[in-house]
């Protein structure tokens, strides 16, 4: 099942055994007619080449579109990609699976010409010329949908789609043609978008469709999708996977970057697993592969994907939120009448698509954002008007969503970061003088306990990896014995090993009697960690339910505002 190195003689991409149930992973109905080939091969220069060079021609369907050989790239002393070799064939969906920082995006950015490789060879449709820049990549039939959408917010969908390959009439932008193109593509590929809508007004799911339409408008042979499902609801994800399958059936090859195992198994024909910048595994027989197999390859050891925890024993109410209203940065209502209770010894998971007021809710609770109206109480204390200092000392631990900005001071040492909100308290300070030996001893203890991998507690926090940075934050926020722990996206951008660890610590905090408010965009995380789930939409709780036996599909519908 896993062949770490492929000698290139074995045709890949088409499973040799096993029959998947949902779809046929082979390229269906191999059509070798001239018209069909001309329709799917869009780059005329390549078409003009002899068949043995271009790889096109009768009997050659399913040919290698992208061939990467021994590609390496370093940033300073960090090897982002080491000796990568992989192939993508026409009409195939290839998943690049790996943890954050495994080098997936770096690899694809090199294919797209955003980054220049140090060594190695990238061959596109038989053409070995190095890719100079995105313009070059686009002209050779490569399209990419980036993790952070590359759309100009103030422009319309049509303008965004035409940007870079504008149609003009007598020197004047011809928006009608662009609109027409958007309509045709959206109809053909089942991607509903309005060409005249301003991009900034569109929800993320729609923005992603715009990105795909944009890529398709360039007539792509190879479409790279960089973590496309990170911001989608489960339903939108399913829709997207369907669109991907249709595109692949139409002859477009797709490279799909992800760390979500479920999606890989649902849609991919061929999987490459990356770890520490190198290809560590390859799977062609998807039907006989399990999530555990993939996770093991990603991490290099077997991991427990499901959090082991006992049933919760909720105690008294620690957090009581009543009719809370909070505004966002643009001064629009983000939290609109939010009601929720969190009891001691339970984990309440807030599930929702990002941008439905979760961030503003957490910031308000942490004292970082002004409350417009409503109350929030911690036991008997009213925290509605508290500042972050008061909130912390009232017993609220806060693992912020943006750890770089709100969780750590990157230039400070690990030790200083570990006492960031207790630095002026005994024993870390006496009469206003900091007690460095006490701080150091405390930091050493936490470093050990939380497995913060570093050269020492004096190392600057900013130089740690994402997972270790998060462990510093988690260590600090759990160790002072909070009554309430707010964990916002606690495992975002964190490797699988650290995720497992952080989950265990959160459960341990719950068992220690803390109430936990878990906000996460990962439904899987909520389902496996929470005892009770509050689904939010439009800044309100639309439904609360016990996590036990909660229905994914129902939560997805509620998240999408269908209630």
């Amino acid at each position: 099942m896993s062949t770490p190195a492929n000698d290139g003689t074995q045709p890949r991409g088409i499973p040799t055994e096993g029959t998947p149930t949902e779809y046929d992973p082979t390229v269906p109905e191999v059509d070798t007619s001239e018209e069909h080939l001309a329709a799917i091969v869009t780059n005329e220069e390549i078409l003009a080449l002899p068949a043995e060079v271009s790889g096109f021609g009768a009997g050659n369907v399913g040919e290698v579109i992208l061939d990467v050989k021994n590609l390496s790239k370093s940033f300073g002393s960090v090897h982002a990609n080491k000796d990568i070799t992989l192939q993508v064939r026409r009409g195939e969906i290839v998943a690049l699976l790996g943890e954050n920082g495994a080098g997936k995006s770096t690899l694809m950015n090199q294919i797209f010409g955003l980054i220049t490789p140090d060594t190695g060879e990238v061959t596109i449709k038989g053409d070995k010329t190095p890719i100079k820049d995105p313009r070059d990549a686009i002209s050779r039939g490569i399209g990419m949908v980036h993790q952070h959408f590359q759309l100009v917010p103030v422009m319309t969908v049509a303008e965004n789609v035409m940007l870079g390959h504008e149609t003009t009439k007598g020197g004047v932008l011809d928006l009608d043609t662009a609109r027409q193109m958007v309509r045709e593509l959206s109809e053909k590929h089942n991607l509903a978008v309005d060409p005249d809508a301003d991009v900034e007004d569109l929800p993320v799911g729609t923005q992603q469709r715009v990105e795909i339409v944009k890529a398709l408008s360039r007539k792509v042979d190879l479409l790279i999708l960089d973590e496309p499902t990170a911001v989608l609801t489960p339903q939108e994800t399913d829709e997207l996977l369907g669109v991907m399958r249709d595109l692949a059936n139409g002859g477009t090859s797709i490279v799909f970057i992800t760390h979500k195992l479920r999606e890989v198994l649902a849609v991919a024909d061929h999987v490459y697993v990356l770890r520490h910048g190198a290809v560590v595994g390859e799977v062609t027989d998807i039907a006989n592969t399990t999530t555990t197999d993939l996770a093991t390859m990603m991490v290099g050891r077997s991991v427990v994907l499901n959090v082991e925890k006992d049933a919760a024993t909720p105690g008294e109410v620690v957090l009581q939120i009543e009719n809370l209203h909070v505004k966002d940065d643009r001064n629009l209502g983000a939290v609109n009448g939010f009601d929720l209770q969190v009891r001691a010894g339970e984990i309440v998971g807030v599930a929702g698509v990002e941008g439905n007021g979760q961030r503003e809710l957490v910031e308000a609770l942490a004292g970082m954002r002004k409350v417009v109206s409503g109350t929030m109480r911690l036991g008997d204390l009213d925290l509605t008007k508290a500042n972050p200092y008061q909130t912390h000392h009232a017993g609220v631990g806060h693992i912020p969503e943006d750890r770089e900005k709100h969780g750590l001071v990157g230039a400070y040492s690990i030790a200083d970061n570990l006492v960031l909100n207790e630095y002026d308290q005994e024993p870390f300070a006496k009469s206003g003088v900091r007690q460095f030996d006490k701080i150091r001893a405390y930091a050493e203890k936490l470093r050990e306990e939380f497995d913060i991998r570093s050269s020492g507690v004096g190392q600057s926090a900013g130089s740690l990896s994402g997972g270790n940075k998060q462990k510093v934050v988690v260590a600090r926020e759990l160790t002072f014995g909070p009554k309430l722990l707010m964990a916002a996206q606690p495992t975002r951008g964190v490797d699988v090993g650290s995720i497992e660890f952080i989950h265990k610590r959160i459960v341990a905090a719950r068992d220690g009697g803390a109430g936990v408010l878990l906000v996460s965009a990962e439904l899987d995380e909520i389902l496996s960690l929470a005892d009770r789930i509050a689904v939010v939409h439009g800044g309100q709780v639309v439904k609360e339910m016990p996590a036990e036996g909660a229905d994914r599909a129902e939560i997805g519908r509620l998240m999408a505002g269908d209630h």
Partner: protein, 332 residues
């Protein structure tokens, strides 16, 4: 057309009201009205040109706080170029050339070297003041006055023709063309779409295959020519002399006008005319002895107006998204 009017309803109504009022005053007191309107337009020309420099720069994502310096050096180079060579053409070309060179300096330092855009602009202004003061020589004269023509046909339109097309110099005409041309370019052409994209969200433009760095360099540099024209207008057209520090903050006023005009050329031109008109009205009132305040106080009017305008505009208009941020490509 109907759709355009619908979208810009407020601007159209305001424009019509202003125009009607202007005509009423014109027909009630032709001589005073005309002299005021001409004064306003003469005052507004360099502001219009400089505001366009600001618009092009910021729409491309580069703050140009050095317009003041470009203006001053160009005024200096234009005047002394003409005085020493004895040719107005040489003067105009050296003024425009200096505008281009300083535009290029700003573009190169901020886009290529990613120097802080504010600091680069301030440096430019300080250097401009220093150089022009140091090399300034009193007692020089222009070889001739700048030629002024009347455009046949257009100049006989009451008020508008008489102000904009009767006895007008070439730079004022270019300013009018530039406003409409750049407005059209910015919103109707490929250049404009790409320029707005690199100023709003450069990485989107980059991934669409647009060379952000080159485009910013070219835009900011070429816009310098307009600042050069504005400088030449100051020292050779509206007056025929160069004084130390004669730009008198017009480059900064232009930035305020750009903001008031919501980074749109047509609105910015209207804002510049408004500035010109208020200044003209104030000096007219003073000349008529209607108000009796020291002339220095009247002279501060444009600057006070700037403060008011910026306070009014604050929060109502939105700057291009990436303005002030250098574009960095990783891994290159």
């Amino acid at each position: 057309m109907a759709a355009w009017i619908q979208r810009n309803k407020f601007s159209v109504i305001l424009g019509v009201v202003v125009l009607v009022l202007a005509y009423i005053y014109y027909f009630s007191d032709k001589t005073t009205a005309l002299s005021m309107y001409r004064y306003a337009w003469t005052y507004a020309v360099p502001l219009v040109l400089c505001a366009l420099v600001g618009v092009i720069g910021e729409r491309s994502g580069v703050v140009n706080i050095g317009i003041e310096g470009q203006l001053l050096v160009s005024a200096f180079a234009g005047f002394f170029g003409a005085a020493y060579s004895g040719s107005l053409i040489v003067g105009i070309l050296s003024g425009v050339g200096c505008g281009l060179i300083l535009g290029g300096f700003l573009a190169w330092t901020t886009v290529k070297w990613r120097m802080d855009q504010i600091i680069a602009g301030v440096v430019l202004n300080i250097v401009a003041t220093g150089i022009t003061s140091f090399y300034y020589k009193p007692g020089q004269l222009l070889p001739a006055l700048m030629p002024h023509w009347s455009i046949p046909g257009l100049s006989s339109i009451p008020l508008i023709g008489e102000v904009f097309f009767k006895g007008t110099g070439v730079i004022a005409l270019i300013a009018i063309i530039a406003v409409f041309g750049i407005h059209f370019g910015l919103f109707k052409t490929t250049w404009g779409l790409r320029t707005r994209a690199i100023g709003e969200y450069p990485s989107a433009a980059d991934t669409a295959g647009i060379n952000v760095i080159t485009m910013r360099l070219v835009n900011v540099t070429l816009a310098g020519a307009l600042a050069g024209l504005a400088g030449v207008f100051l020292s050779m057209d509206s007056t025929s002399s160069f004084e130390r520090g004669m730009s008198a903050g017009r480059g900064f006023l232009a930035l305020a006008i750009m903001i008031f005009g919501a980074w749109r050329p047509l609105r910015a031109a209207a804002a510049a005319l408004f500035f010109g008109f208020v200044t003209a009205a104030a000096s007219q009132l003073q000349a008529d002895q209607v108000i009796n305040v020291p002339p220095q106080l009247v002279g501060t009017l444009p600057y006070v107006l700037t403060l008011v305008v910026l306070a009014v505009a604050a929060g109502r208009v939105r700057a291009p998204g990436a303005v002030g941020q250098p574009f960095v490509k990783e891994g290159k």
